[in-house]
Each structure stands twice: as structure tokens, then as C-alpha cells.
């Protein structure tokens, strides 16, 4: 405990330097704008701004990108509440009751509860991250290739299991992502695989062009036909204060959303999206008046908003402690750290304490900055939505091209982005999720390497995956998830998503 507090003191001494403070602030502002703009989610936002961080030192870069991440989570709620347009996917659930509150003339309290809930959840989950990551990192030092392989396998199975749609389709997308990750030179034999003579593909497909294509460009393709900007409600500052009853009704949903979001955040998958869905379903399930949901229940705003912000911190736990990204956003963050010569993993905390604890402390600072930014400046941010989409989307497209080109200075990456944009457009038309593709792409090289290293260690015996206790445990959990889905599919039973009310939540 004392050691943690000492480390946190070290972190704050880094995070409160004017330089880092400025990057946290800039990241939060950009993130909020990214969250407000439909079509540019946190993943595309981080990917696009990755080149900007190249000129910074590692701590500044990661603080800037993290600021964009949780700023986008805050910003997404604003458009959901005021216009029923989710700025990013995790805010979909906030649309339902948030917008209903706006129609009932309670937009201000909805925004205030979303901001306060996000602040509380963000702060508490950083405390949990602070206490959980170091012991997990120490434990992870016992991991060898078999443990890493089974952990990654479990991650992909959990991702498919937790996906909001069909598990089969999520699994197909994860495998597709793994296949994309096979492109390039095989690190163990030097053979060039599926690169079709293109030298630029020797290192494989980059995460950034794939992520920007699948998320940013495909969203532009789907929404570009929108004719005019929708009407924007702009609440005044004095209308923001919730009533005593609204505060009372929000306390427990915020608490439950925080715990739920953090736990789901640790599990691989699109944590922030899933957590808001599960939180909404949970609040509706345990409410004494479930009929209020959809009509402007403040619990339907407080729970999901707290959960998606808490999941943001939870997602950093496996990334920082194990070096394993739990979703596409931590994967891009990890790529950014690698650009700066930092390998996230068990040794990060002991070898680079300034970076780790500075990052943790900057998250506290970022949450305060966002609370200050979001409430008084909400009117300013929503003005952006008055710009007609036909004038906005060419600008977003320009940033996609610029951001992707600037990572490696390669037009091949812009070509990959274009192909992935078309693929993402079609996949979404055909009801497939695109997040597992990015996660599969990132995990593929690690997974293949640890699999083949494991077999080299055991002279080709597959028993290495069941004779080591940690690997066996992880494998058993993964198989249990797979089995439970197969059984529920075979018996045509409603699975956990429907039981929690996902289908009804879409009303």
C-alpha cells in the first residue's frame, strides 16, 4: 500500500508537469470532439492521430492518446442524449433514455449525470487499475509461450462469446483477422506469405490502416448520404443540475456500472460497448419500474455511461500488465507504445515506473479535465453537429488518408485502408462486427509465435498445453465458453445476450 502511494506520488510528479498536463488537456479536447462527431469513434480517432504522437516522448504520447480514448467515451454521450446520435458505439444505450429525457425537457440533468457518472467510474476504475496491474504483472512473469498461447486463445473465444451479435459471425471475423495477421514474412523460417510481391507487406498489414478502414472509412461510406444536419438541443448551464430524486436514483446504477464496466473491460472484446449494453440490461432487470426504461429513466443513462468509462480503464489492465491487448483500441495504443520503443508487459512497471505511474496519474487528471470541460462547454461542442454532414465527411476522409499515410509514409497503407473500408462497409451491411478482425490481426503474430515456440520447447508434443497448470486452466475456461455456446446453439436456447435483454434494449 505504502509502495503504491509512493509510486503514485512519482506518477503525479510526472503527470502534473506543465508539458504532460497540456497533452492530457489536448487529448481530452480532441477526444471529446472525436466522440461528438459521428463516424469517428475512439479507435479511428486514436489511429488518425497516431502520427502526431511520433514527435513526442513516450509518456507525452501515451498520455495524449489515452486522453483521446476516454475523452471520446465522454463526448459520445453528448450527441446520444441531445440528438439520439451515438457519437461512438458504446453510447448506443445512452440514446434510449438520454434522448427520452431530452424530449421530456430534462437534457441538462441527463448530461450532468452522464458526466458525473463517467467521472466517478473513471476515477474508481483507475484506482482498481493501479492496485490490480502490478500484482498481475508479477504473476505474468511465470508465463511462458504455452501460457501466452492459451491466454490469447481464451481472449479470442471470450471475444466471440461476449459479442453483441452472432457468436459464429464473431468467430468468423476473429479468424479472418488472424488470417490477415499471417500476411508478411514468417518470423521463424523467413518465408514470405501472402504478400503478392509487395515489399511493403513484408512486415504484415499495419493495425492503423486496417482499423481506420474498418471503422472510420466504412462509417463514412455508410453515413455519407445523409442530407442535412439534424436539429440540435442546446441546454443552458443553469438547466444542468439534476433534482434530488435524480441524484438518488443514479447513485447505485453508477456504482454497479463502475464495477461491471471494470470487470468486463479486463475481458478481451469490445469491452466498452458490451459493458454499456450489459449495464443497461441489468438496470432494467433489477428496476422496480422497468416500464420507465425507454421513457426517460435516469438509471438508463447513469449505468451505461459509468460502465463504458470504467471499462476504458479495465481494458488497460491486460495491456499494461501482460502485454496482451484486450481489444482493438488497446491494440492501437500498444502499437503506439512500440513505436516509441516500449514493450508493454510484465516488465514495464518495474523497468519504466515513470511512464506507468505517470500514465496512471494522468488518467486521474484527465477525468477532472473532462468533468470541467464537458459540462460548461457542452453547447460549444454540439455546435460542431450543426455543420451539415455533406461538408463534414470530406474533411473526416481527408484525416483518414493523412493519418494512414503519415504512419509509414506509404501509399500502400492508404490502399489497404481503402480495401478495408470497402470490406468493413460490406461486413456491416451483412450484419458482421468488425472489431474481432482488428483484434485477430494484432494477436495473430503473438499467437503463432507462442504456439510454435511451445511445440519447439516440447519437441513437438501438444501435451505441453495441458501439463502446465496455468495453460490448462486458461484452456479449460476457453473450451467451457465454446461448449456453452455450442450447447445453447444446439438446443436453440436464448443465450446470455437475449436473457439480459439485448434484443429489447434495441427498441
Amino acid at each position: 500500500m505504502t509502495e503504491t502511494l509512493q509510486n503514485l506520488y512519482l506518477g503525479f510528479s510526472v503527470a502534473l508537469t506543465p508539458n504532460i498536463l497540456m497533452y492530457a488537456f489536448v487529448g481530452c479536447v480532441i477526444g471529446t470532439l472525436v466522440g461528438v462527431l459521428p463516424g469517428v469513434g475512439p479507435l479511428a480517432g486514436i489511429s488518425l492521430l497516431l502520427p502526431v504522437s511520433f514527435g513526442l516522448n513516450a509518456t507525452s504520447a501515451i498520455v495524449l492518446l489515452a486522453g483521446i480514448y476516454y475523452g471520446a467515451m465522454y463526448g459520445g454521450s453528448t450527441t446520444s442524449i441531445l440528438m439520439r446520435i451515438p457519437g461512438e458505439a458504446a453510447s448506443v444505450m445512452t440514446c434510449i433514455d438520454g434522448y427520452a429525457m431530452t424530449r421530456n425537457g430534462r437534457a441538462g440533468p441527463a448530461l450532468a449525470i452522464a458526466a458525473v457518472g463517467s467521472y466517478i467510474a473513471g476515477t474508481i476504475s483507475v484506482v482498481a487499475l493501479m492496485f490490480l496491474a502490478p500484482p498481475l504483472a508479477s504473476f505474468a512473469l511465470r508465463f511462458g509461450p504455452p501460457e501466452y498461447f492459451t491466454l490469447l486463445l481464451l481472449g479470442l473465444l471470450a471475444l466471440a462469446y461476449m459479442s453483441g451479435g452472432s457468436m459464429l459471425k464473431a468467430l468468423a471475423m476473429a479468424v479472418l483477422g488472424l488470417l490477415f495477421g499471417m500476411i508478411g514474412i514468417d518470423p521463424m523460417t523467413g518465408f514470405s506469405r501472402f504478400s503478392f510481391g509487395l515489399v511493403e507487406l513484408g512486415d504484415g498489414l499495419g493495425v492503423v490502416p486496417v482499423a481506420v478502414g474498418l471503422f472510420g472509412l466504412s462509417e463514412i461510406l455508410l453515413t455519407a448520404g445523409q442530407p442535412t444536419a439534424p436539429a440540435v438541443t442546446k441546454p443552458r448551464l443553469r438547466e444542468l443540475l439534476p433534482s434530488r430524486e435524480e441524484w438518488h436514483d443514479s447513485v447505485w446504477p453508477i456504482g454497479r456500472g463502475t464495477v461491471l464496466g471494470f470487470l468486463i473491460g479486463i475481458i478481451p472484446g469490445s469491452a466498452h460497448i458490451i459493458s454499456s449494453f450489459v449495464s443497461y440490461a441489468l438496470e432494467r432487470r433489477i428496476s422496480k419500474h422497468p416500464e420507465r426504461f425507454g421513457q426517460g429513466a435516469i438509471e438508463g443513462v447513469a449505468g451505461p455511461e459509468s460502465a463504458n468509462n470504467s471499462a476504458t480503464s479495465g481494458a488497460f489492465v491486460p495491456m499494461l500488465a501482460l502485454g496482451v491487448p484486450s481489444g482493438p483500441i488497446p491494440a492501437v495504443m500498444m502499437a503506439a507504445m512500440m513505436v516509441h520503443g516500449i514493450s508493454p508487459g510484465p516488465l514495464l512497471i518495474s523497468q519504466q515506473p515513470e511512464l506507468f505511474w505517470g500514465f496512471i496519474a494522468s488518467m486521474y487528471v484527465g477525468n477532472v479535465v473532462l468533468l470541467i470541460l464537458n459540462l460548461p462547454l457542452v453547447g460549444l461542442f454540439v455546435n460542431l453537429l450543426r455543420v451539415p454532414y455533406p461538408l463534414l465527411h470530406p474533411g473526416i476522409l481527408m484525416f483518414c488518408v493523412l493519418g494512414v499515410y503519415a504512419v509509414n509514409g506509404s501509399v500502400v497503407d492508404v490502399g489497404i485502408m481503402t480495401l478495408m473500408g470497402a470490406l468493413g462497409y460490406l461486413l456491416r451491411k451483412f450484419d458482421f462486427e468488425t472489431a474481432p478482425v482488428v483484434l485477430g490481426l494484432v494477436l495473430a503474430p503473438m499467437m503463432e509465435m507462442s504456439f510454435r515456440q511451445s511445440l519447439s520447447m516440447s519437441s513437438g508434443s501438444y501435451s505441453i498445453f495441458i501439463t502446465r497448470p496455468i495453460a490448462l486452466t486458461l484452456l479449460t475456461v476457453g473450451l467451457a465458453l465454446l461448449l456453452s455456446s455450442v450447447i445453447s446453439f444446439g438446443m436453440r436456447k436464448a443465450d446470455w445476450r437475449r436473457r439480459l435483454g439485448f434484443a429489447g434494449a434495441k427498441d
Binding site: 502526431v52 488472424l178 506469405r193 503519415a406 462497409y425 510454435r452
Partner: protein, 146 residues
Amino acid sequence: MTIDRISGGALVIFSLLVIWQGSALPLGTFRQPGPAYIPILLALLLLIVGAFIAATGTRAPKFSSIGWGERRHAVAILGVCVVAVFGIERLGYRLTLVLVLSFLFKIVERRGWLLSASLAFVLAFGSFFLFYTLLRVPLPQGPFGF
């Protein structure tokens, strides 16, 4: 025809293509996998999953139920990206961006000439100034110094 039947079929075809391409590489053995081992294993898994999606997709929405109202914009935007791929290093960042943005504003979004040209110019030169000059991100200049 349902969307799951079509997408499942597409996944099966894609996995067969991967297996065909992967067959040119050494497969290795069960105990000592070669460079083609994992890709072919994954392609087989995708083939099975794709076949399952197609086989169980009888109750999925019909292909005809998908709306394609935005296709004109989508094709134009993808075309613009292809032009950017070929133009950005030949014509330079600013000139390419002025051309593609003018096309999007004027032809696709049917805005006035003055507005289209001004927005394209401001966005292309403004982003170049921000990223190249201020943030020192290298961007191509092209033969005309643009």
C-alpha cells in the same frame, strides 16, 4: 437468398483461396509446423464456420432487404481514395487533396463552385500546414512544389 447464405458462401470461397495460395508454402509436420501450417489451419476453420453460417442462415434477413441508398456516395468516396493512392506521391499532398476534395464537394455533394473550391483549398493547405509545418509529419510535396 439471405444475407447469411451469401456471406457464409463468400467466407468459404475466401478460405479456399487461402488454402490454394498457402499450398505453395511448406506445410511442415504436425509436430513441427511450417510457415503454411497455421494459415491453412485457420482457413479450414473459416471454411467450417462459413459453411455453418450459410447452412444455418435460413432465417436471416433477405439480401433484398438491405438498403443501398448511399451507394452513389460510397462508390465516389472509394474512387477518391484510389485517386489519393495514385496521386499523393506523384502530384503531392496538397494538389491531390485539393482535387479530390473539390470533386467530393462539387460533384458528389453538389455544392457551389466557390464553396467547393474554397473548402478544398482551406482543408488541403490547412492540414498540410498543421501536420507538415507545425507537427513535422513528413508529407509528399510533388513535382510542382505542392
